[in-house]
């Protein structure tokens, strides 16, 4: 059960009628005219896989027709798509499982991609679970790594299991398409190439609102609710139980403020009611990938680690020199977070203001 040196999948024969399934698709997640960045991360990843297979990358953009939707189609090319399937209907304005499932099932059955990728978001997981059932095919959720087994051209989808203690690689045998969801920020954002263009395939599903049972009464945007936007923060200062008591959270907020970053926490702090769930980093919280992650008083349990280990630079502050977090942080500081945090706030403040005067 150790990792074989050369990736090799389970041997199987793809039946003749499934060989016409070609190309890698990403279902682009757009709500209210804005695209979830995981979709572009996946287009970038799909590009790499498609180049290995020598096939095209397709981006499926669904919604009500609008200038914003056209702009999204254009963006799909700049991030690496060859074809955009633009599926428009007024009924698709808001995400609802049933019409999205019906339309996607038809589009997949018509154009036959071999791989379909979605973000492991509330929309992506909801839709993926439904269409994998209508298409009667395999779906691997929450992948952290995608690759191709070249010997049989099948998708090798790797995901954590048992809370990240183990990884497993899953393969879909003689069924097509092969489906996978990937968490936001797990894959890196591809560079834009504004000169890239491609084909647009327009699809008009002609849906009837009367056929849709679920109605959207209203939408309460988080922007109006003041939720932490952790997943997109460049700098995160995170606190664990080592901070001792809720009042000490102020120390991480102060440092985050000087750095222009966000505050994250471990699960025990959320469970103890120190702060809201929107700040939890980890397996059951958010996956983050900031440029700098400062972990103060965090032991580095696997469930926390899986949510932040892809950060560019991790500084861990812990009183215990043997804390597991030092095994994967880039920089370690053995010391009391309660005194180090204010000193860091000061030091960064000074460093940055000195430069402001000089500049």
């Amino acid at each position: 059960m150790s990792e074989p040196s050369k990736p090799q999948g389970r041997k199987f024969q793809l039946p003749e009628h499934l060989k016409e399934y070609k190309g890698i698709w990403v279902i682009v997640e757009q709500e209210r005219g804005s695209v979830h960045s995981v979709s572009w991360e996946l287009v970038g990843e799909a590009r790499k896989l498609a180049d290995k297979l020598g096939v095209e990358v397709g981006a499926v953009v669904l919604g009500a027709d609008s200038p914003e939707l056209n702009a999204i189609c254009g963006d799909a090319f700049t991030y690496g798509a060859d074809v955009v399937y633009k599926v428009t209907d007024p009924v698709l304005a808001d995400y609802r499982t049933d019409p999205y499932t019906r339309v996607m099932t038809d589009v997949v059955n018509t154009y036959k991609p071999e791989i379909v990728l979605l973000g492991a978001t509330t929309l992506g997981r909801d839709l993926a679970g439904a269409i994998a059932t209508t298409l009667a095919t395999g779906l691997t959720a929450d992948c952290t790594e995608l690759d191709i087994y070249m010997d049989n051209r099948s998708l090798a989808a790797t995901r954590p299991t048992f809370g990240g203690t183990l990884l497993c690689t899953i393969q879909t045998l003689a069924y097509r398409p092969q489906m996978a969801t990937v968490r936001p920020r797990v894959m890196s954002m591809p560079d834009r190439d504004d000169n890239r263009t491609g084909r647009v395939v327009e699809v008009f599903p002609a849906l009837r609102e009367d056929d849709v049972i679920t109605k959207v009464l209203s939408f309460i945007a988080d922007r109006e609710q003041n939720e932490a936007q952790l997943a997109f923060a460049d700098i995160i200062v995170a606190a664990g139980k080592g901070l001792g008591k809720p009042e000490n959270l102020k120390l991480v907020f102060d440092l985050a403020k000087v750095l222009g970053g966000e505050v994250g926490v471990t699960r025990p702090l959320v469970q103890a009611g120190w702060t809201g769930f929107d700040r939890q980093v980890g397996q059951t919280g958010k996956t983050v990938r900031p440029k700098l992650y400062i972990a103060a008083g965090i032991s580095g349990a696997i469930q926390h680690r899986v949510g932040m280990e892809k950060s560019d630079l991790i500084l861990a502050i812990n009183t215990d020199p043997n804390a597991p977090i030092f095994d994967f942080a880039h920089l370690g500081l053995v010391g009391d977070a309660l005194t180090i945090l204010p000193a860091l706030t000061d030091a960064f403040g000074k460093r940055l203001s000195v430069n402001r005067l000089a500049g």
């Binding site: 059960m1 150790s2 709500e31 995400y95 049933d98 509330t122 929309l123 997981r125 909801d126 993926a128 679970g129 439904a130 994998a132 059932t133 209508t134 395999g138 779906l139 959720a141 090798a156 954590p160 299991t161 048992f162 809370g163 203690t165 183990l166 497993c168 690689t169 899953i170 393969q171 045998l173 003689a174 069924y175 679920t214 109605k215 959207v216 009464l217 209203s218 939408f219 309460i220 945007a221 988080d222 769930f277 280990e309 500084l315 030092f326 994967f328 880039h330 920089l331 370690g332 500081l333 180090i340 000193a343 860091l344 000061d346 030091a347 960064f348 460093r351 940055l352 203001s353 402001r356």
Partner: protein, 288 residues
Amino acid sequence: MHIVVCIKQVPDSAQIRIHPVTNTIMRQGVPAIINPFDLFSLEEALRIKDKVGARVTVLTMGPPMAETSLRKALSLGADDAVLLTDRKFAGSDTLATSYALTSAIKKLSEEEQVDLVFCGKQTVDGDTAQVGPGIATRLGFQQLTYITKIESIDQGAREIVVHRRSEGGVQVLKTALPCMITMLEGTNTIRFGKMDDMFRAARYGLKTWSKDTTGAEETKVGLKGSPTVVSKVFVPKPRAQKATMVEAEAPTAEAPSAEAMAAAAVEAILGAQPKLADELLARAAAGL
């Protein structure tokens, strides 16, 4: 109103241990619990029962030992319990699992029409969040995942209004029964069982159903009915390098001051990430 709650018995994942030599999961002695995410759904079902009256049936597919989880759910206030167990189900992936559970829900519907199915958001062992949507799709029920609140439920009009978490906010949805709901974690707190329910749970004669009881087709369950296979299981590679420790000068026999450590840390950060330094400085210069 008839509500079915799907629960899964899982190993208490906080206590999973990996055998150091063989890299396999050591299940011996690991306590089994009801999947924690399922408890939010069970509680919500019991609240509907308290409010508008309903029969709550808990359903699990698993080995005979999963009986303990069903009895636990009964002790919390569920009315009936079905254990779907058959060697032929072994090795089922989510597509096959949702098929098998759907066959049992259809059979329950023959006794009394099922109006609502609750599933957990996801399991802590499988972690896929696929079985709920799979069941909804197969039954043709409206699918309501990541629900944070059931605002109202009107039995006469068969209408339900819920709040659903989406990436950028909360959707308020109105739909018609029957539907399948998964509750988001933290939306309620599971109750304590009442004494009489505990006694009833201990005496309750469980329904134990096999593949043939529900009429599930053999080719759609177990390994045969599962499109996915696990081709490899492995332990995550530890990062090759351990953290570089930040050190600072200190007067003899004393620990360096927090100030000295912090200053050293700032230099280490900016040294490791020169680009970050520029960005921070640019931001600071812009007065942000």
